[in-house]
């Protein structure tokens, strides 16, 4: 299951609505407010520091040392050495290229599919509520379990995909899909199956923020639906498209569950996170695994920031 989207912050709203109070009573009330506030945020702050910040620092430290003789021991300080080795590793490069392929396919399918779905669901119709329940189903299911349900589809010999394509005479021999060049595209399709609902909901919210009058006014001026789509819908939808693209992007960069269930740790479909898993879980090489994980995290954060800045520049330009 993919992550959840984030709204852009709106500054200067919190706490600003209260009537001004003066004198001693106001000062006491403000103190009471501040004390209560600090108590109420204490648990979340403690959890974040203890279980996110601290392990982050601990992990970063591990990534700077060579592997020790035992799993809990550590070797000599190597600085950025582990990072350099990870970048030069051929397995890293092939995993990175695969991930690029996953990301490209996922983004195109998600945005195109999400746009079509959102447009179709924009206006009310009978059964739309039920349809939404159906729509979010793939997002709600654990991606590992979805992968298990898809497995028979890609089975070699008499899998459903083979049977279908043979029947349609699109292929002449049954394919071992997970061993061919089609393995990555098909795994990407399974990934998109799970993420499309979220992308659709984001785009739908964007669509519904476009006022109906824009459409009726342009229709009066003789615009065809196709021209309306190109000249009204797409430009006005750009903020939502950017958010959807960033979420789809970060999600696809970290693709793992579907690969694990459909093709295990096989090299021909390995993604960057799969390579981290391989280093940490299979080879028990913690320093290199963590170094790689940090590189991926930094890279996807950078991508998201660049995309946001690019979107903002284009909006102001």
């Amino acid at each position: 299951m993919p992550s959840v989207a984030l709204k852009e912050p709106q500054a200067g709203q919190s706490g600003a609505r209260w009537p001004a109070r003066s004198g001693l009573w106001g000062a006491t009330a403000a103190r009471e407010e501040a004390r209560l506030g600090r108590w109420l945020v204490l648990p979340v702050a403690a959890v974040t520091v203890a279980l996110v910040i601290y392990p982050l620092v601990l992990g970063f430290e591990t990534s700077l040392y060579a592997a020790g003789s035992t799993l809990s021991a550590r070797g000599n300080f190597v600085g950025a050495g582990n990072y350099a080795e990870v970048i030069k590793d051929p397995a890293t490069i092939s995993a990175a290229l695969h991930t690029l392929e996953y990301v490209g396919i996922c983004l195109v399918l998600q945005l195109a599919g999400g746009l079509v779905t959102a447009v179709a669901l924009r206006r009310a119709f009978r059964g739309r509520g039920l349809m939404f329940g159906v729509l979010i189903m793939p997002w709600a299911l654990p991606s590992v379990v979805s992968g298990v349900l898809w497995r028979r589809f890609f089975a070699p010999d008499n899998g459903l995909l083979n049977s279908l394509l043979l029947h349609l005479h699109l292929i002449h021999n049954a394919q071992v899909w997970m061993a061919t060049g089609w393995a990555i595209p098909w795994i990407a399709v399974v990934h998109v199956w799970g993420t499309l609902p979220l992308i659709t909901l984001i785009l739908l919210a964007g669509l519904q923020s476009i006022p109906d009058e824009v459409y009726s006014a342009s229709a009066v001026d003789g615009a065809t639906p196709a021209r309306q789509f190109w000249h009204i819908t797409l430009p006005l939808l750009r903020p939502a498209l950017v958010v959807a693209a960033i979420i789809g992007l970060v999600d696809a960069v970290t693709i793992f569950d579907e690969i694990y269930v459909l093709n295990g740790i096989a090299l021909n479909t390995s993604s960057v996170v799969m390579q981290v898993y391989n280093l940490i879980f299979v080879q028990a090489d913690f320093p290199h695994g963590i170094a790689f994980a940090f590189l991926i995290a930094a890279f996807s954060a950078l991508l998201a920031v660049v995309a946001l800045i690019a979107a903002r520049l284009r909006r102001t330009a």
Binding site: R38, T48, I53, L56, A120, M137, Y277
Partner: protein, 293 residues
């Protein structure tokens, strides 16, 4: 504006295709789970089983199977696997309930405080906590594993719950912060004017206002927790800490080509999240699209 008949027909087609795409894999899973191994192995494949066959469910739930050995799996002990499957479902449900409760307790009060109370450091804390959302969980797993070993929390549900809490509380807090900020502030103002303390106003006025937001968030956190895979794969190896997501991948390794048994396990495993999604879809939808607004 009224759409033309052609546009309406096109929309109907698109909607049917989306419904088929969304439910197709689940439907194939259900059909596979009631097929016999003969149906599944037939060439060409039989999408529709020749007759209803509940052997897969008997094996996965009751630990019995009609033949002496399970096809596609030599030396499998279905009785042991069935009991492990039941145990893992129970564990998934328990840990999901515990983690959801913990996440809500922590994030409801924090979301309220950050959106409604003025205190020094509030803004900084909000952004620091929300900022941790960009840190992928897999960068933390090794350090978390070591911490859990040191704290003797490895292979305990408490250890898993703490890690899920740290992963989900920032998101939950952020969504509730937005939700709380969008609620009308007048009821709380009136309560304060009437002499309530801030805490009383929160408990008796704001908390009831937040009910639908909390319900939506509970659903989202439940779905996220139930779907966790990498964390329990690392932090839990005992029956009470192996969720159904992890167990099902073990089954994939064991019952490689016994699709009916795998599908039956998958169908049972998706029941809890599917029910939540269907029952609470309106709330979930509002929270997800509201979150991106």
């Amino acid at each position: 504006m009224k759409p033309s008949p052609a546009a309406r027909a096109l929309r109907t087609i698109v909607i049917v295709v989306i419904a088929a795409w969304s439910l197709g894999p689940v439907a194939i899973g259900v059909l596979t789970s009631i097929s016999s191994q003969n149906d599944v192995q037939a060439v060409p494949a039989r999408w529709w089983p020749h007759q209803l066959n509940l052997d897969a469910y008997r094996a996965i739930v009751g630990g019995v199977h009609s033949a002496g050995t399970v096809a596609g799996c030599v030396g499998c002990n279905t009785a042991a696997d069935a009991s492990a499957f039941g145990q893992s479902l129970l564990s998934s449900v328990e840990v999901t309930a515990e983690a959801t409760l913990a996440t809500l307790l922590v994030s409801v009060v924090a979301g309220y405080a950050l959106s409604r109370l003025r205190f020094r450091g509030g803004k900084v804390l909000l952004w620091a906590v929300v900022g941790t959302l960009v840190i992928p969980l897999f960068t933390l797993v090794v350090a978390l594993f070591r911490m859990m070993v040191e704290l003797h929390l490895i292979n305990t549900q408490l250890g898993l719950v703490l890690v899920y809490l740290s992963a989900e509380a920032p998101l939950a807090m952020w969504l509730l912060y937005n939700h709380c900020r969008d609620l009308p502030p007048e009821p709380e103002e009136a309560a304060l004017m009437d002499g309530c303390t801030r805490w009383q106003a929160f408990r008796m006025v704001v908390l009831p206002q937040m009910r639908s937001g909390i319900a939506a968030l509970a659903a989202i956190v439940m779905l996220l927790t139930y779907g966790q895979f990498l964390i329990p794969l690392l932090l839990g190896s005992t029956p009470s800490t192996t969720p159904v997501t992890v167990l099902i991948t073990e089954f994939v390794g064991k019952y490689t080509t016994n699709y009916p048994i795998l599908a039956a396990a998958g169908v049972i495993a998706v029941l809890p999240p599917a029910i939540i999604a269907l029952l609470l879809n309106r709330h979930i939808r509002g929270m997800l699209s509201g979150a991106t607004g």
